[in-house]
């Protein structure tokens, strides 16, 4: 507490420029938090929508009493979704494995096993930016818009094409894997939440007020 009180006179003695800077920093931070919050909300809504996909096949299985316990419910969803996870990922992973084998053969044959060439081409593909900073209250903080330190370089050679194709395939495979894993986790999460409710005696649903799984 005493440490914080040291800064109190500093806040009082701020000039107009510094007050403005603090205001701008606060607005930027709030904006970033708002943006992240919107992304979180979007992800949660996608998760909810993906999770509800299990209702399509679980509703009949539960209503016809083929599945009768929460454990059966969870294990069935897990089994079925694992199968679906494989079916959704298989082509991406097959292509990735083939690409990796082809790249290893290419590098070991044409580049004598020199992987640095590939990494350099990839590194040069992205631009490098630098943020101007300033010292304020003993802290180094960003003071202006960033400037481009090194622009991206595109290599229109055989090595370049091979690297870009490998990069695009890896990116596609990675995004596909993340998407399917996200969907899988959403469904498992929903099955864990719903399994006990589906078989539990709920007085809310009596008297024709059947609202299904909530």
């Amino acid at each position: 507490m005493n440490n914080l009180l040291i800064y109190l006179p500093l806040l009082v003695q701020l000039n107009e420029k510094e007050k403005k800077a603090i205001g701008i920093i606060a607005i930027i931070l709030l904006g970033i938090l708002l943006l992240l919050g919107l992304i979180a909300r979007l992800l949660l809504s996608i998760k909810d929508r993906k999770g509800r996909e299990i209702d399509n096949y679980m509703y009949d299985l539960v209503s016809y009493k083929i599945i009768t316990t929460p454990f059966q419910f969870r294990s069935y969803v897990f089994k079925r979704e694992t199968k679906k996870l494989y079916l959704n990922n298989r082509w991406a992973l097959r292509v990735f494995i083939l690409m990796a084998i082809a790249l290893i053969i290419y590098v070991s044959t044409f580049l004598s096993g020199d992987w640095n060439t590939i990494w350099k081409i990839l590194d040069d593909l992205f631009l490098e930016i630098e943020w101007p900073t300033t010292k304020m209250f003993g802290l180094t903080i960003i003071s202006d818009w960033p400037f481009i330190k090194t622009p991206p370089v595109i290599y229109l050679t055989l090595n370049g094409y091979v690297t870009y194709v490998a990069f695009i395939i890896s990116l596609w495979c990675g995004l596909n894997l993340i998407g399917t894993c996200f969907s899988f986790s959403a469904k498992i999460d929903r099955s864990n939440k719903v399994s006990s409710k589906a078989f539990g005696k709920n007085l809310d649903n009596m008297g024709g007020n059947n609202r299904g799984f909530q």
Partner: protein
Amino acid sequence: MTALLKTVGYGFLIIILSPFVVLGLAIFAVYAIIVYLFLEISSLLLFFTGKSFKNDDMETIKLKEIMKKEEIYRQNMMSQPINTVPQHGNNFPPQNNNYYPPQGTNNNYQQQQNQENLNQSSLFDETKKDGDNNE
């Protein structure tokens, strides 16, 4: 304003929870790769034994059987003819619409039938009488 604050709160939450979310996704990704390798080999083996990996599981087969039975039952109910025999009295068997009781065995039925015949004949007589008068 509350919604805005809630969104900002979500932003805080995602900053705090993002390492755990990334960790969870990484675990699922590793699981997905292991599942892929295992099922790829097993599907290859299944292919050479003449089976398919995409076959329905036991629960789905059971469900399909039940639904098929239900559909057949529903079709049978729909295809049955409409009840042509009027239901008379309490003793008349209402279970099967195709059941025609033998004449003379059910007293109630016969009595009512006779009563109806009587009514019809009297009606006929009246019309006949009217006709006669007209003539």
